[in-house]
């Protein structure tokens, strides 16, 4: 590396001093593409977003915005869109729980009982990704439609009243979120479960643990890293999602994503930005509490 040529004198001891320093430089060099990427696509946009959230809201795209440190954008956003914000977090939590309830048994079955069909089953989990997100969500409009089989059956079973429907309800939105983000939970969880050493389960069984206890005391704790990663990959995008609410919901199921989208479309950049910052902060806070409680930092 060129660093060597800058060394003064270049005495006999230089060679031995040089080796570790070169290695250190090499490490930074390898990090730099990632670092650059992070600066360009994360740091700069975040700073811009936060700055925009403090602009004077009376400006517009055409006239330009003035930086007035307008903190009131935040209080306005909370007052006007508080319910949507809470609803988003609520829907995301419910969808994540639904994903865990369906995804854990699925990932467990693939990892432990899949045998030679393991890969095939994983492909089946990912297969829906081959069609577009929009198309998949739109097809739920059809599945949950008033005149379709599901609603008819539920009405016939008196689960739904004669006028009851599924589409354009919170249930439909949460169903859509659950469906769309399930694979993001299953894949990291599968990876964690797959790694669990089967000999540990034999040891647990040898030490008087029934299969259920062995699961609770060994498999579950060892799958926590995958479970935490999976729930984060489900919860975070679900909280910011607006497609599912847009296509499967109604005006009372609007999520914060819908509002941000509308505000941007209407040119109200400062309010949209402050709402985005609030959403981001809320997610970071919740995730920090969650990860700490799950105690995964102790796990390898």
């Amino acid at each position: 590396m060129s660093a060597a040529s800058h060394l003064p004198g270049g005495g006999a001891s230089a060679a031995s001093d040089d080796a570790p320093r070169k290695r250190g430089l090499g490490g930074y060099l390898l990090l730099s593409p990632g670092g650059l990427w992070l600066v360009v696509f994360f740091v700069v946009p975040t700073v811009t977003l936060v700055a925009t959230s403090l602009y004077d809201p009376s400006g517009s795209l055409q006239l330009g915005y003035a930086m007035t440190w307008h903190w009131q954008n935040y209080t306005d956003a909370v007052v006007d869109y508080g319910p949507q914000l809470l609803r988003s977090l609520q829907y995301a939590v419910i969808a994540t729980i639904a994903c865990v309830l369906m995804g854990y048994p699925l990932a467990y079955a693939i990892a432990f009982k899949g045998g030679r069909f393991k890969n095939l089953m994983l492909v089946a989990v990912i297969a829906p990704f081959f069609t577009s997100f929009l198309v998949r969500t739109l097809s739920w409009q059809y599945i949950l439609g008033d005149n379709e089989a599901v609603v008819s059956l539920l009405r016939w079973l008196h689960v739904l009243g004669p006028e009851g429907h599924l589409l354009a309800t919170p249930f439909a939105v949460i169903t859509g979120l659950t469906y769309n983000f399930l694979p993001f939970l299953v894949l990291p969880l599968y990876a964690s479960l797959e790694k669990v050493d089967r000999r540990l389960l034999e040891a647990a069984s040898d030490l008087y643990a029934s299969p259920f206890t062995a699961f609770r005391k060994v498999t579950l704790p060892l799958s926590m890293p995958g479970l935490v990663a999976g729930t984060l990959l489900t919860f975070i995008p679900a909280a910011g999602d607006y497609i599912n609410s847009e296509l499967l919901g109604n005006p009372t199921t609007r999520m914060v994503g819908n509002e941000i989208q509308d505000l941007f479309a209407a040119g109200d950049y400062p309010t949209a930005s402050s709402l985005s910052v609030i959403l981001m902060a809320a997610i970071v806070l919740l995730v920090a509490i969650y990860v700490r409680r799950a105690g995964t930092e102790e796990l390898v």
Partner: protein, 390 residues
Amino acid sequence: MSAAAPAGAAPTEGTSAGTDLVLRGLRKSYGSFTAVHDLDLVVPSGSFFALLGPSGCGKTTTLRMVAGLEEPTSGQIMLGGSDVSRLKPYKRPVNTVFQSYALFPHLSIAENVAFGLKRRGKKKVDAEVAAMLELVELSDLAKRRPAQLSGGQQQRVALARALINRPQVLLLDEPLGALDLKLRRQMQLELKHIQTEVGLTFVHVTHDQEEAMTMADTVAVMNKGRIEQMGAPEDLYENPATTFVANFLGQSNLVAGSVVEGGGETVALDVQGTRLTAPRARLATDAPQVWVGVRPEKITLTRAGSPAPSAAAGNLLAGGVVTDISFVGVSTQYVVRMPWGQELSVFLQNTGAHERLVVGDAVDLHWSPDHTFCLDASQDARAGVEEDES
């Protein structure tokens, strides 16, 4: 054992026969392959029992069947007078020290050791765990995770985790296999010491014949799913019943011969035209064709034609030529080519009593008839010879 006779005679009395581990016709097949052939075995309560054999001989499968981790194809496992063959592993009063240790990586050492007690509903385990960690000398590491321990320390945690439950039988599946030689020798002594101290039945599976002989009261040598021979280590070594045992336990020189006169206490043998004798008691067969065996360390070498030293007098094979010499500290190992082309090994103690020999020297082999044994010649003379080790 005095026949465990009257079936079900109050096993709670705690007679030693009542707590023996008994295997009856135990068999395990995987499709057309039979890993364990109708094994019959009694492990007396409180003994240190070793199942010795090369890898793939069925010893680990046998152990796993006792633990309940494999289901027998047929046969019975009796423990303390009751049949446990169909019990789930977590319902058997048996614990295992696994070859891989299988310590729970997410639990501390103390939590690992307490695992079995807690599963059986015990609430206050701290004192017992502390005492057990004391026994295996790991008290300082109670709060560590398994990954922070060395191999030898992990091995002791695995032992403590099993021992603390006071199982009727402790199963050890090559527990020392992952340790280096020096640590292994040290742990062998420690294990034997602990077994004497706690007085539990240990069933130890190993492929290391030295390990089996050092630790066990009784050794069963297994080969291809069957027990070749069982007995005290000295008995097995001095009186091997098969060529496999003769070769797998230590080394043996096996030379083709025939019984020419077998009337009295000793039998006369013909080996390549030379007449040898052996005690009748050490004949493991009635067939006239035999493998005549002698352990390398029982033989003394003299220069061709010299008289035999008194201790080794009796049997003499003449006309050998030294072809290889290796010095291994306590002894010197010679390879001697006989006139009929076979190479025999001879170990001489480096006591200074022997004349130094060099490659090419003509020598005679002497040994006492008492050290001669005879095995059925229909067996493969090289069965059980370890290819990779001396």
